[in-house]
């Protein structure tokens, strides 16, 4: 560092004791592994979303009052996005915003998968697992809410379906739908309400949640790939220090992400509001974004006669597909740290997916389950019969889950992971890599 830089650091240090920050946080080690950047990617996508979102908020008009746009009466929100799209820079920034949302959710889902399949949710990190799931839920809600804002025919249809799903919640439906959607859909207060969620409430909750997520991560430290155990002395974490090495990687990742979403936004425009047109009485053939396709598929697969009456409430097919099924999946994920009863000691080294055949089997089964429902969203296009798909929701997860379980178990047996664990009487399996090293 230059002498001038030194002087600046000294000046700050005399006033703010920044060297203590350096000792405490800037030396934090980041383990190196090709799957350890997904959370960061989601974080940077969020940064891009906040920056582009602030820009868009300056051009957007949160109202459905009818205004005159080049001789046509249109809702002000729709008209403002139409006008925004005429400005090349604004159009590109809207595309980047939309694409970054997709990237953020992809990164979050992959991050979740990495944490799940390597057992990183185990003690002491159960709390951060729950915070992370909360962040995923908030992000999906923010994406759903943001989808309405252009107020075109597609977005109004999608939000209307959300309203009617909320209406189908047992006992609380009418109250909940009124509260979240500001009265009967689509009322004039709907857009201001959703705008409030999208630009104030949800970003603030996400900021707070991300803060907690990162603080817990710094406090509890990263988990490490098992190979690191062989190199570590005295239980120290091996990895790159935050400053300067990891910071450089982060900047590169941020720039690559920025470049990628710009390229995507330029080459593959999404949500063409002009083409979709303003809200109309007719419902277009619309499918939700990819992360909600499985819920949409479930709504198609669950038959109308599936209806239960409990304590004065009617739990219909729409509540089963739209609320209960996604709710159960969410609940199962929340309980994962307590459902997994293997190795309940404090865990700092990851368990590669094949070490825990049961977890792998359940995880693959869940992915297959969601996959079949996603496929059901395209039953018409793919020519799949509803009856076949209904059977597949049971058979396919069982098949894939069971096969993964048996394959992983035979791998584990062959490499001696399970037998070792049994002989030692310890639940902590030994890394095959370490066995190779010790020979």
């Amino acid at each position: 560092m230059t002498r001038r830089g030194d002087a600046l650091v000294r000046w700050l240090d005399e006033r703010l004791h920044v060297h203590r920050l350096q000792e405490k946080y800037l030396r934090k080690a980041f383990p190196v592994h090709s799957t350890f950047f997904l959370g960061e990617l989601a974080l940077f996508a969020f940064v891009v979303l906040v920056l582009t979102g602030m820009y868009l908020a300056f051009l957007y008009e949160p109202s459905i009052a009818e205004v005159d746009v080049e001789g046509t009466r249109l809702p002000a929100a729709y008209g403002s996005v139409l006008m925004l799209d005429r400005i090349p820079a604004a159009h590109l920034i809207r595309q980047i915003h939309h694409w970054s949302a997709h990237v953020m959710i992809v990164a979050l889902v992959l991050h979740l998968g990495r944490i799940f399949f390597t057992g990183a949710y185990k003690k002491p990190r159960e709390l951060n697992w729950i915070v992370g799931l909360g962040l995923l839920g908030l992000t999906i809600f923010a994406a759903f809410v943001g989808y309405l804002l252009p107020y075109d025919q597609f977005s109004v249809t999608a939000t209307g379906i959300g309203y009617n799903i909320a209406l189908s919640v047992p006992w609380l439906g009418e109250y909940l739908a009124d509260l979240v959607f500001a009265g009967k859909f689509p009322g004039s207060s709907l857009i201001p309400r959703f705008y409030g969620y999208h630009i104030m409430l949800l970003p603030l909750l996400l900021f707070a949640g991300i803060g907690i997520h990162l603080l817990l991560m710094v406090k509890q430290k990263h988990t490490e790939p098992p190979a690191a155990k062989a190199h570590s002395t005295g239980g120290r974490l091996i990895g790159m220090p935050l400053w300067p090495q990891q910071a450089v990687i982060m900047v590169v990742l941020l720039l690559v992400l920025g470049g990628a979403v710009t390229l995507l936004g330029t080459l593959f425009p999404v949500h063409p509001v002009e083409l979709y047109g303003p809200p109309a009485p007719e419902t277009p053939s619309v499918k939700p974004d990819w992360y909600l396709l499985w819920v949409y598929g479930a709504l198609r697969l669950i038959p109308g006669w599936m209806e239960v009456h409990v304590l004065g409430a009617t739990i219909g097919s729409e509540a089963i597909g739209g609320i209960i099924l996604p709710g159960l999946v969410g609940l199962a994920l929340l309980l994962v740290p307590w459902l997994d009863r293997t190795n309940r000691e404090k865990m700092d080294y990851l368990e590669p997916p094949t070490w825990r055949p049961a977890r792998l089997g359940w995880g693959v089964a869940l992915v297959a389950f969601i996959g079949v429902f996603t496929l059901a969203a395209y039953d018409h296009e793919l020519g799949l019969s509803i009856r076949w798909l209904r059977a597949a929701t049971v058979i396919v997860p069982l098949g894939f889950g069971g096969a993964s379980y048996y394959v992983a178990r035979s791998f584990a047996r062959r490499r001696g992971v399970l037998s070792d664990a049994r002989r030692d009487g310890s639940h902590d399996a030994v890394s095959p890599l370490m066995r190779e090293r010790s020979q």
Binding site: T157, G160, I161, Y163, N164, I165, L167, S168, V169, P170, W171, G173, E174, Y175, A177, D178, L179, A182, G183, K184, F185, P186, G187, S188, S189, R193, A280, P281, E282, T283, P284, S285, V286, Y296, L299, R300, I302, P303, G304, E307, A313, T314, I315, G316, S317, E318, A319, G321, G322, D379, H380, I386
Partner: protein, 191 residues
């Protein structure tokens, strides 16, 4: 009461109070409601085209061919989406219960166009599909299928109940007129 107990009870009371205050503030935002455009279809309303080039013009007997259907609104009540009607014209002889035959006129039958599953606008198809080898009403959202000849009863898919029927008649000018209100709740019934 010692100091620790006092402090604890003050803290407890203020937490309960704060939660109650936050709860009632949240509950209050529910009260914002749209007050206009909620008039429901009633006896004597003339039906007008809801879509296309003739939007807003009154539908007459000659405007719809047998085997066709159009989306219609009661005149002057277009802002209430629940008033949207699928006006079907079929051979008068094909209708059978649960269609209320006295609510049809000259082959015209009117059903709510708001799907009972999740309130998307339904469509009419003059051609049959595997699940319904006849002219049918279907929903583009989650593939519900209704039979317009049989009271728009559910033939396939997730909708929990038929599309409510709206009584219609033809007046002296040959215009399609609502002869009453919807018999049942339109759209999604709250749980």
């Amino acid at each position: 009461m010692d100091r620790r107990k006092f402090a604890t009870s003050v803290l407890g009371t203020s937490i309960v109070g704060a939660l109650a205050a936050v709860g009632s503030v949240i509950a209050s935002i529910r009260a914002v409601r749209r007050s206009t455009g909620e008039a429901a279809v009633a006896e004597g309303d003339r039906l007008v085209f809801a879509m296309g080039a003739n939007t807003g013009t009154v539908i007459t007997r000659d405007a719809v061919q047998t085997g066709e259907a159009v989306l219609a609104f009661p005149q002057g009540k277009e802002s209430n989406h629940d008033n949207l009607v699928m006006l079907v014209r079929l051979e008068p002889s094909v209708y059978a219960p649960p269609t209320r035959l006295e609510w049809t006129a000259g082959g015209f039958a009117a059903y709510s166009a708001v799907c009972t599953h999740l309130a998307c606008t339904v469509r009419f198809s003059g051609e049959g599909v595997a699940a319904a080898p006849f002219s049918h009403i279907h929903c583009p959202c989650h593939a519900g299928v209704f039979d317009p000849r049989r009271g728009a009863s559910v033939v396939a898919g997730p909708p929990p109940r038929p599309l409510p029927q709206l009584p219609v008649r033809l007046n002296e000018a040959g215009e399609v007129v609502a002869a009453g209100e919807f018999a049942e709740t339109v759209g999604v019934a709250a749980a």
